[in-house]
């Protein structure tokens, strides 16, 4: 249902007047809020040029923000590749005919989906060194934790995708004499991956955001370098946080747009099976616009 057209009638003179009053009332409220924030900033001297000036100097960008941005992307990229591999392996494991493969895969996936990412990261960073007696590099603590969590989420997405492929596809493949592994690898996974592409890209948004947890175990990513360290030198926490937030929003809005574009593209060609997942990934944008009018 395309909401903007269906929920209310085309406004008549009275409805237009009412909408105008609401617009003005809410607009005034909003402006009052913005003004209050402005005054609060002024009261605490947050508009002082010295606090904003660092962002006009190139050294701020080359010494803090750019290295942090690169480390954020590096952790996200490595974790994404690893969690895709993890996801495919455990999805296939969970769909296996053998209980000794199916049950452990299910336990692993369910467990890592239920454990908070920070708890996992703390265990890897602070706990594992007690066992191995070697310090754990914080890059790998971030990447391993992200892989275990996002890999488990993707495993569920892939499983839903494989199950959404019409049964005739695997029946036809068996009929021409393919083996179980060939049916999975050559028929089901490629179709599932295509249907799940928007979900995978949406999960990438989750992953980019979660790299910020690396700040807590002092991995030098955007929040650590671009906000914490920068603010330690210039005393401009609020300003640095705003700039960092804008960068995160820009990355993630781009990824969300890509997910939406992929979803529309897949739907239009109509060849890939429709599939939905129950994972949290559904929430990120791609599923937000059902194509009722198309």
């Amino acid at each position: 249902m395309s909401t903007d057209a269906v929920l209310y009638d085309h406004p008549g003179p009275r409805a237009r007047a009412r909408n105008r009053i609401l617009t003005v009332a809410f607009g005034v409220l909003l402006l009052a809020l913005l003004f209050w924030i402005y005054r609060k900033f002024e009261e605490k001297g947050q508009w002082a040029a010295t606090l904003w000036e660092p962002f006009t100097k190139s050294s701020t960008w080359t010494d803090y923000i750019w290295p942090g941005f690169k480390n954020t992307l590096a952790a996200a990229a490595v974790a994404m590749v690893l969690s895709l591999v993890f996801g495919v392996l455990f999805a296939v494991g969970r769909l296996s005919d053998h209980w000794w493969l199916r049950v452990p895969s299910g336990v692993v996936v369910e467990f890592f989906r239920a454990v908070p990412l920070l708890l996992l990261m703390f265990f890897i960073f602070f706990g594992i060194p007690f066992v191995t007696e070697k310090p754990m590099p914080n890059f790998w603590a971030v990447v391993i934790a992200l892989t275990l969590y996002n890999g488990s989420v993707l495993a569920e997405a892939f499983r839903a995708g494989v199950r959404a492929v019409p049964i005739g596809q695997s029946e036809a493949a068996y009929a021409i004499g393919m083996r179980k592994g060939q049916v999975m690898g050559q028929i089901l996974i490629p179709q599932a991956a295509r249907a799940m592409l928007p979900v995978i890209v949406s999960q990438l948004v989750v992953l980019v955001k979660d790299t910020a947890l690396g700040y807590i175990i002092s991995y030098n990513e955007l929040l650590q370098l671009g906000v914490n360290n920068l603010a330690a030198n210039f005393g401009n926490v609020i300003q640095a946080a705003i700039v960092a937030a804008i960068i995160y929003i820009a990355i993630n809005a781009t990824l969300t747009a890509v997910a939406g574009w992929l979803a529309r593209r897949t739907r239009r060609s109509g060849r890939a099976p429709r599939a939905t997942t129950t994972g949290p990934a559904v929430l990120t944008g791609a599923g937000g616009e059902p194509g009722a009018g198309a």
């Binding site: 249902m1 406004p11 409805a15 947050q46 908070p116 708890l119 706990g127 955001k209 926490v237 129950t278």
Partner: protein
């Protein structure tokens, strides 16, 4: 040998999970209220309200929660002098609740909006045909049906919220992940036991909760 037979350690464990419980309880109520209001704004006939809802969702959904919590503490509290309570611990708690609610509300809003999209257009058209206003159509016809369609997504949002509550540990609340870190650092010989007790508690509570929401969603689904 057994870490959790020591009453001090058991205390650390219990306190940690009590904080998670309190954070989840307060934030889920606020997030649900704010999120529903935002969803109503996003489908309303007034452009300013729609723009406000869209801006909120795009800003908070795309910012890492760690940054939001960080901002609540260092920006809102340290720099701008906003205090929620004189008690330092309670102040951190409320700052955490603000961050979690503001962030989760964006997801609740999107879930409810996609729930509204599952209601067939005929329902709203029929409501308008018998002369219902926008508010009546939304609260009496569309939202009740949408609410039943979004139980499963809302369930996974609240489960994510309870896991995200651990991030409030960043600003010094002794919730479960900080509790686990402290226990690991003082009991290096039992790291696996400590991890499996903490992680197991989350798994034992959250996995059945997830299935519970799935069952509820099936039971309450609108038959079409």
């Amino acid at each position: 040998m057994d870490v959790f037979s020591d009453p001090t350690n058991r205390d650390v464990y219990v306190t940690g999970f009590l904080w998670i419980l309190k954070l989840t309880a307060a934030s889920s109520v606020f997030a649900l209220v704010i999120g529903t209001a935002l969803a109503a704004m996003r489908v309303s006939p007034v452009p300013v309200l729609r723009a406000f809802g869209t801006a909120w969702v795009n800003i908070f959904r795309n910012t890492p929660l760690t940054l939001i919590i960080f901002f609540c503490y260092f920006g809102l509290y340290s720099t701008l002098g906003f205090t929620a309570s004189d008690n330092l611990e309670l102040n951190n708690y409320w700052l955490g609740v603000i961050g979690l609610s503001v962030y989760t509300a964006a997801f609740v809003c999107e879930a409810i909006r996609s729930g509204i999209n599952t209601v067939p257009a005929g329902q709203a058209e029929a409501a308008r045909a018998i002369g219902m206003t926008f508010r009546q159509t939304l609260t009496m016809i569309v939202l009740p049906q949408a609410g039943r369609a979004v139980i499963a997504p809302l369930g996974s949002i609240f489960i994510a919220l309870s896991k995200n509550a651990t991030i409030v540990g960043t600003i010094g609340l002794a919730e479960s992940s900080n509790a686990m870190k402290d226990l690991i650092n003082s009991n290096g010989n039992a790291v696996f036991q400590i991890f499996f007790v903490f992680a197991g508690t989350f798994a034992v509570v959250l996995i059945p909760t997830g299935y519970g929401f799935g069952w509820l969603a099936n039971r309450l689904a609108v038959k079409r």
